[in-house]
């Protein structure tokens, strides 16, 4: 391997690693707050990218129907619960969030000439369609069993993953798509060239990671999510509802997933089922962080990116095997170094 290739692979590794890092952070967040191992994280990557591609082709993305359907289901469930509770004052909000917003999206999508919209508007629309799926899925699949064991929640995750993959095939077909780069062209650095899209990915990931850091470190809602992760009972006693925390963490995870998909779809062809493998690599990073430490998870995910890039050069056929084998020494090291404290539940 000469320097040129090493540099090229390093660039590739860093780009993928940045995306894995984002997904790893989302996985740690969801697990810490809700104890859900969020296998469908990757589906949001694919849904985000394919919804954008579908918008750019001038079609109304089929994911919109899913938002409408889930919105109706959530509104029914929450509506009936609120009525039984006798708290009719909650109804307007339930209807607004779950029915009015998706319907408004439908109107906008139906009336605009989607293919000719500026890229930024298309991206915002794609996010507006895909991100609400996060809290809706939480409400329907996880909230009713929020107190169940981690294993049970994991089983539900597998089910949600399978359903979303199937729906993805139905919505987008088996064809893969790519979306145009945010900015075309290459940056010549002398020793190597960088695609502008690569810079977009690195910069956006960095901005998003810093934004998350500020959110968790400074805002009261971010602190409330951390509090729920640290001590669920304590948080409830402060009026921080487990449901609110769950929905908020799923919203963030959906946003991170969908945005990651939108970032990488100009450099990789994404299929309806591509998200799974991408999500799993983020998961390896999250495991390196013990599903608890954000910085270690992010660093681990970047390591996964590099490992993948270099192993695709040395042993391209075994690239996935090498990446996923990494989890074994990590688990071994974690089981040897971690200790249980008595006070933890």
């Amino acid at each position: 391997m000469d320097f040129q290739i090493a540099l090229f692979l390093g660039q590739d590794g860093l780009t993928n690693g940045a995306i894995y890092a984002l997904l790893a952070l989302a996985l740690v967040l969801v697990f810490a707050v809700t104890r859900v191992i969020f296998i469908p994280q990757g589906e949001f990557v694919a849904y985000g990218a394919l919804t954008l591609a579908s918008l750019q082709a001038g079609n109304v993305p089929a994911t919109l129907w899913l938002v409408l359907a889930l919105g109706v289901a959530v509104a029914l469930l929450d509506g009936v619960q609120a009525m039984r509770h006798g708290s009719t004052r909650r109804l307007p909000r339930i209807i607004l969030v779950n029915l009015a917003v998706p319907a408004l999206l439908w109107l906008v999508l139906g009336s605009a000439d989607l293919a000719t919209l500026p890229l930024l508007v298309q991206i915002l629309l794609a996010l507006a369609i895909v991100v609400p799926l996060g809290p809706m899925i939480y409400r329907l699949a996880y909230q009713p069993i929020a107190e169940a064991s981690v294993l049970m929640l994991l089983i539900v995750s597998v089910a949600v993953h399978v359903v979303l993959i199937g729906l993805g095939l139905l919505f987008f077909g088996a064809e893969g798509t790519r979306t145009p780069a945010f900015t075309d062209g290459m940056l010549d650095l002398g020793v190597t060239t960088l695609q502008y899209q690569t810079l977009w990915i690195l910069a956006s990931s960095a901005v998003l990671i810093v934004a998350l850091y500020v959110f968790f470190g400074r805002s009261i809602y971010g602190k409330a999510l951390r509090a729920t992760a640290l001590n669920r009972t304590g948080a409830r006693l402060m009026g921080i509802s487990t449901t609110m925390a769950g929905k908020l963490s799923f919203t963030l995870a959906a946003l991170i997933g969908a945005f990651s998909g939108i970032l990488i779809s100009p450099i990789t062809t994404l299929y309806y089922d591509s998200g799974f493998l991408i999500g799993l690599k983020g998961f390896v990073g999250a495991i390196i962080g013990g599903l608890a430490s954000y910085p270690v998870a992010a660093a681990g995910a970047i390591l996964v990116g590099f490992l993948e890039a270099y192993s695709s050069f040395y042993a391209s056929a075994y690239k996935e095997v090498i990446v996923f084998t990494l989890i074994i020494p990590v688990l071994l090291w974690r089981s040897l170094t971690s200790h249980h404290s008595e006070e933890e539940e």
């Binding site: 009261i220 602190k223 951390r226 640290l230 304590g234 409830r236 006693l237 402060m238 009026g239 921080i240």
Partner: protein
Amino acid sequence: MSTVSEKPILLEATDLCVSYGKVEALHKVSLRIREGEIVTVIGPNGAGKTTLLSCLMGLLPGQGEVVYIGRSLGNDDEVEERVGLGLTLVPEKRELFADMSVEDNLLLGAFDRYRRGQRDYKVTMDEVYAIFPRLKERAGQMAGTLSGGERQMLAMGRALMAKPRLLMLDEPSLGLAPLIIREIFKTVARLRDMGVSVLLVEQNARAALQVADYGYVLETGEVSLEGPSSELINDPRVIEAYLGLGGKH
């Protein structure tokens, strides 16, 4: 209805029953808390004191009637809603956010009020720091590194950040040194003067009865005795069972 000296009722529980599966932990417990009063529930280990508080806070479902400021509370009313109504519990285990700073713990105590648009948490925090100056010294420290007494102060301070109408304290003296216990009880009395009603559950019967206005004795899930604290503290049955020989002072 009530005489002039009697303050309005803040919370009234009637025939409260709570069961863990087939085991009944509380049997037809009735109690009444008036505004600006300290009411204490004393009794031995396992009498159901913590269960009573958990049920009033909505952590455990129960049967019977609970009326709080004229509003009936049912099992549907979740903990988070009760916090919004001004009920706050400081649990026996404190349930602090160990890996967060003292200041962040306090801040989250005001979460519910913040969510409702009351953004004056800084003012409340200064009030809490005035009550517990020690917390101000420790503001940047992680809650998990505090001493037992400081942890109890933080748990109480965090609860006060919610500006509760009824503060429920579960065994605030548990595991603390006598000097600190005295300080904690002094604070409880001060809170009453500030207009907060307190439901105090304690094994330390003497300290609790000295500070409280009214007391209940809970034994094996039932109220065996009740009355103004000044009477209970001189009641031979209480002296024998809970205060020991030094009970009369």
